[in-house]
């Protein structure tokens, strides 16, 4: 997804000369094409994310559309007050791009995990929050946030994720994308979990469960209309994210369903809980794949949990 992001950003920068890119000294073998083509609109600010975000705000106040880029925890948590005060309060055209969201940097250790990002960014005023599910979506989200006035957060995986959609899906800001039909349960997946969510639905199908899958690239604004409708239509709604479900997609959907009149659906939220983080991830190193298996949110784990809930 990060390669799709930079390819798309270069296309956009060709047409729109207000687009700038700032990095906090990361992006080796990813950002070079932007650097080569648009050197006057690129700055490696160094390992200094507070300054990066403030500089981005100052550039945006001078008419630029500024993308900040780093590994997921750095351009978010390290400089959160700059994001809130300088970027969000002033409604500036700053687009925060986080690579390696979730546990993508698994065995690099927990300092590099970004699992609170969706909850934290969702709480920021004026902020739009996107986590595309595959490269098709990453391209569309990148194009959308470049056009959209105001602050945006884009959470990407790393590299090499496959396309899950067969072809570029119909896309607009705030809308979820149907991926697979079903009638027992609806799974809402955000970000790089999409492929796993589809695989889980396939496992459910082999075991007699009919599970619909929706990709939710926009956590804010959320597809309120669709999710309300799903809560009335299905007996079970399942959110899936490689993030803390409190405050993330799970939290957003829970708030919405709780405020929906007489929903039919029961909701289960699959994501990371405090216990997963404190009892597992803070004790041993795991690759992304192993962590998903251990914490039961790989395709098998998700399928088991959905089928248990359907019983």
């Amino acid at each position: 997804m990060r390669n799709t992001f930079i390819n798309t950003l270069c296309e956009l920068a060709e047409e729109e000369e207000r687009i700038w890119l700032l990095t906090g000294d990361l992006g080796f073998s990813v950002l070079e094409q932007f650097v080569d083509r648009f050197p006057n609109r690129y700055v490696n600010v160094g390992v200094a994310e507070q300054n990066m975000t403030g500089v981005a705000a100052g550039l945006a106040m001078s008419g630029k559309i500024v993308f900040t880029y780093s590994i997921a925890n750095f351009p978010t948590f390290r400089c959160l007050e700059q994001i809130r005060n300088d970027v969000c309060y002033h409604q500036l055209d700053v687009k925060i791009v986080a690579v390696g969201g979730g546990l993508a940097y698994g065995s690099a250790g927990y300092t590099h995990h970004a699992i609170e990002d969706l909850a934290v960014m969702r709480a920021m005023p004026n902020m739009k929050v996107a986590a595309p599910g595959d490269p098709f979506e990453a391209r569309e989200v990148t194009r959308a946030i470049a056009r959209e006035q105001g602050p945006c957060y884009l959470r990407l995986g790393k590299a090499g994720e496959p396309n899950v959609h067969q072809r570029p899906p119909a896309f607009s800001i705030g809308r979820a994308i149907p991926v697979r039909e079903g009638f027992d349960a609806a799974v809402l997946s955000t970000g790089g979990m999409l492929q796993t969510a589809v695989a889980a639905a396939e496992i459910c199908a082999r075991r007699g469960g009919s599970v619909a899958v929706y990709s939710v690239p926009w956590i804010k604004p959320l597809d309120v209309e669709l999710i309300r409708e799903l809560a009335q239509r299905f007996a079970l709604l399942v959110t899936v994210e490689e993030a803390r479900s409190s405050g993330g997609l799970g939290g957003a959907v829970a708030e919405l369903v709780a405020e929906t009149q007489a929903p039919k659906a029961r909701l289960i939220r699959i994501g990371l809980e405090d216990s997963d983080i404190c009892d597992v991830l803070h004790h041993s190193v795991f690759s992304q794949e192993s962590a998903r298996a251990v914490l039961r949110f790989d395709s098998q784990g998700i399928a088991d949990r959905v089928l248990e809930a359907l019983r």
Partner: protein
């Protein structure tokens, strides 16, 4: 207080009086810090900044960021005196529904570039504005006023590295070095010395001035940059509470607001005709 024969002197007197009245009316804090920067603001707005109150968003305007956002009352006073909005709006300072917050806030107030209050935000944003100016070959300069206590925040030093590396000689920092921060003296809390040497080591061009001497302030602001390719820092030695004898150099005036009696005494010390001031601005 000796009145210096300088065009900024009357401006400084007026904004001191406004700020005193504003904190008196609102029972707000930070009068000491306001008086500390009054002369710096007076020279900036009366003599130096290329701004157009009729066209606050003029693309080529100089940018001024009051990074020590708690000096809000005097900043609004300076904008009003410079003609960005009528002085009677100052009386709404800190009132419910007002646009004049207790820390400098960009509620669409003309002349306010950046909402501040949390320290350490102004310089990175100023760096972004200065970088845009350089790359777009615009003639404007960017001025950022920092407090001494604010320099405890690490973000300033990230920005200090950045500005020198990118040779932002269109960026000018003024440090209000009154030596008193929120809960003690700078020396007691977190000593900044040797301050000038720190900035020199960061490859900034440095000048130390008396922050209440109009000629020194103006000369420094006008003659910067002192070295091509280097950002400028002016370390202004100031007195917290300057201009009101019973407020000078006292930590308590970081918090207290004057009583009516103290307001009258303070205005009298400034040489303000109290009855006329009250008639003009309060009744």
């Amino acid at each position: 207080m000796t009145i210096q024969n300088h065009p900024a002197a009357e401006f400084a007197k007026a904004i001191r009086a406004h700020a005193l009245r504003m904190v008196y009316r609102s029972r707000a804090s930070h009068i000491g810090t306001c008086l500390s920067v009054a002369d710096l603001l007076a020279v900036l707005y009366a003599c130096v900044l290329r701004v157009d109150p009729q066209n606050p968003q003029w693309e080529e305007r100089d940018r001024f960021i009051m990074s020590k956002g708690h000096a809000a009352a005097i900043t609004y006073a300076a904008l009003a005196e410079r003609g960005f909005f009528p002085a009677d709006r100052l009386n709404s300072y800190c009132e419910d529904g007002s646009k004049l917050g207790g820390h400098v806030t960009q509620y669409g107030m003309p002349g306010v570039e950046l909402s501040t209050g949390s320290l350490g935000h102004g310089l990175p944003v100023g760096c972004g504005m200065a970088l845009a100016g350089k790359r777009d070959a615009k003639p404007y300069r960017v001025f950022v006023l920092l407090s001494d206590g604010e320099l405890d925040e690490g973000s300033n030093w990230e920005a200090a590295l950045f500005a020198a590396h990118h040779q932002l000689d269109n960026l000018l920092v003024i440090i209000d070095y009154n030596k008193i921060q929120s809960f003690g003296t700078v020396e007691e809390v977190l000593d900044l010395e040797p301050l000038a040497e720190k900035w020199r080591a960061f490859r900034w061009a440095v000048r130390e001035i008396d922050g209440h001497d109009y000629a020194q302030i103006e000369d420094a602001l006008v003659s910067a940059p002192f070295a091509s390719g280097r950002p400028t820092v002016i370390i202004a030695h100031t007195v917290k509470g300057k201009g009101v004898s019973f407020m000078e150099n006292l930590l308590a005036w970081h918090y207290k607001s004057p009583t009516e009696e103290q307001l009258r005494l303070a205005l009298a010390e400034l040489g303000i005709d109290i009855e006329e001031h009250i008639h003009q601005h309060i009744v």
